[in-house]
């Protein structure tokens, strides 16, 4: 049972990492334009149009 002593904090730590990632995404505006993000990925704006 001693394994719980480090497994439990480990599980919580992983959960917390997920929570902080979510809060970071929220703060940095990742959820501001949900529909646009789906479309932007299809844009080839890194390809210069040939003259």
């Amino acid at each position: 049972m001693n394994v719980i002593v480090y497994l439990l904090p480990l599980a919580l730590g992983l959960g917390l990492a997920g929570l902080f990632a979510f809060i970071w995404a929220l703060r940095s505006g990742q959820y501001n334009d949900i529909d646009g993000a789906a479309l932007r990925v299809l844009q080839d704006d890194d390809v210069e149009p040939k003259p």
């Binding site: 049972m1 719980i4 599980a11 929570l19 809060i23 501001n32 334009d33 949900i34 529909d35 932007r40």
Partner: protein
Amino acid sequence: MSAALDLSLYARPDSDGRLSMDLAVDGVTCGACIGRIEGAVKQLPGIAEARLNYTNRRLHVVWAGGALEPGRIIETLQENGYRGHPFVPLRAEQEEAAEARKLTRCMGVAGFAAMNIMLLSVSVWSGNVTDMTPETRDFFHWASALIALPAAAYAGRPFFASAWRALKARSTNMDVPISIGVIVALGMSVIETAQHARDVYFDSAITLLFFLLVGRALDHAMRRKTRTVAGNLAALKADTAHRFAGEELVTVPAAVLRAGDRLMVKPGERVPADGTIASGRSDIDESLITGETARRDVGPGDTVYAGSMNYDGALTLTVTAAGGATLIDEIGKLLDKAASAKSRAMRLADRASRIYAPVVHSAAALTALGWWLAGASAHDAIVTAIAVLIITCPCALALAIPAVQVVASGALFRAGVILNSGDAIERLAEADTIVFDKTGTLTLPEPRVVAPDSADPELLQIAARLALSSRHPLAAALAREAASRVPFEGAVEEVGRGVRATIDGVEARVGSAAFCGLPEVVSLPWLSHIYCSFGGRSAAFTVAQSLRPDAIETVARLRALGFDLRILSGDRAEAVAPVAQALGIEQWGAALKPADKIAQIEDLKREGRRVLMVGDGLNDAPSLAAAHVSLSPISAADVTQAQSDAVFLGDRLSPVADAVVSARRARRLMSENLGLAAVYNAIAVPIAIAGFVTPLIAALAMSGSSLLVTLNALRARGGRSA
């Protein structure tokens, strides 16, 4: 000529000396628009950043101060086929965005805590029936407490704050029993943990918060979405005015006008603010204000109201009231009276929570008392009572109505109806009588050519294409008939008279009778005529307010739904009669002043009817406020829109019927959900009172009932008409 629009009002400086501006963009239809708009705007000199938010159709532009005339951005959008209008984000909208972020953060924290505590709880539950030692169980309980207490303190704030506000105001709302339940469950669990007890309720308390926060966050997201669209529409509709700066004309947003400003109103433009005419003569169409479709001849010294359409001549006017103050006195007074007298129906949710809280709390108290009298220890009696509090779970009840509201307002939004107030759905569902205004509501807001099919098609097309070169409202009606949107080359407009062009060597004219050298057609005062001559041929087209394209079928549909339909119009009887006849509405009133309309609505209310008022004019605003529930088309006057419970988009009348049908279905689902919650409690409460509830049963019951009402609410999406 007028200068470009002065946009300095909208540009906001940031800390590095750059300027930024937000624009609502109309015409964004697909993903390719993102690249096209951003690409075009970034070509402009000095642009540092241009980002289109596809979700809310807004463009954020940042540029180096002084490097760019902001009007160029709008011109660039126009060249690419988009209409952009700058706006200042409303304070309410910003506050709502902050609130939404807060709710989402709370939801994230509660979700994290709920999952991890559930992980521990499941271990304890399975350990209880196998070989878990009491020491390990205590350790797990303490770990749960460590997660639950800070998480509840953080994620529960929206509920605690709202409950505290309600209690301070000596009233109660759904958040009061929620807060009591959560706090009591957590407090008891901590005490039980300290006493090495078997059963704790950390998981129930946090899962409750999580479910409720998901519901609130969704509710908020839906409201923000409709608010954003409404904000964009308002920005796109915002009028501009030509203001005299000395002798020069500057185009400014109507919002910055002040009393005393001198304005020029050109033919074909709407009057941007109330004022008195300093010079010029013209016919003006005041149908948006009075419902009267016949035009009024005005000259120096006359008063004109914001929203009137100027037909023939350029007017110079002195502003008397501007911006929000633009309101006819009589209407302002009626509006105050109507709004204060409005019988605010108590919302279903409030009624439910008013019954729920005392019943549950007294049931818990009686349970404790009963067990104690029956000889149980005080500790056991209190633990059982708390189990009652937890299992009655405000969760299903607190989700029952908001969940339906979210789904139903989403369905309405897709049908082109934007809700202004959340409880409008309930009131819409209760309506049994519909009162329509005529002008702009049953009829289209702009006049149309009457019976275009009976005209000579070639002449009609020539006239319509010629009319594209004019801003006159009659010409605009004619121009709607044009198959080709390309104006004739070399077409010249003579302001207030007409347009002429030479087509294949033959002169074509469209405009007033005198301009075309034709005799004036004499007919009814609310019909207008526009004339066309082409070589030796000529025609006179009749232009009038025509019914919305689907008005007849929508009215029939509403009648089939059992509504009593009426028309109350400010227009004269001769103009209302044919409309009423075409729609088969027998009860109509004409030439009604705003006070008369209110009186009629009050009469209907006294008969015990719930009146849905549909209207657009400034003269309708007081009656919209007086009615049980109200709708207006998006073309309505601003004051009127502000009074109505919902706004519908487009040229069609069918959203009125759709709104009523969706609202009725939603209302039925709300009652069903409340019924489900009641049945759930009827089963769960006796079990809890008998003392059979374990944390496992509590968790299952709570999740199960929440899921059930949420799934039931999803039926409000309904593609099928009920």
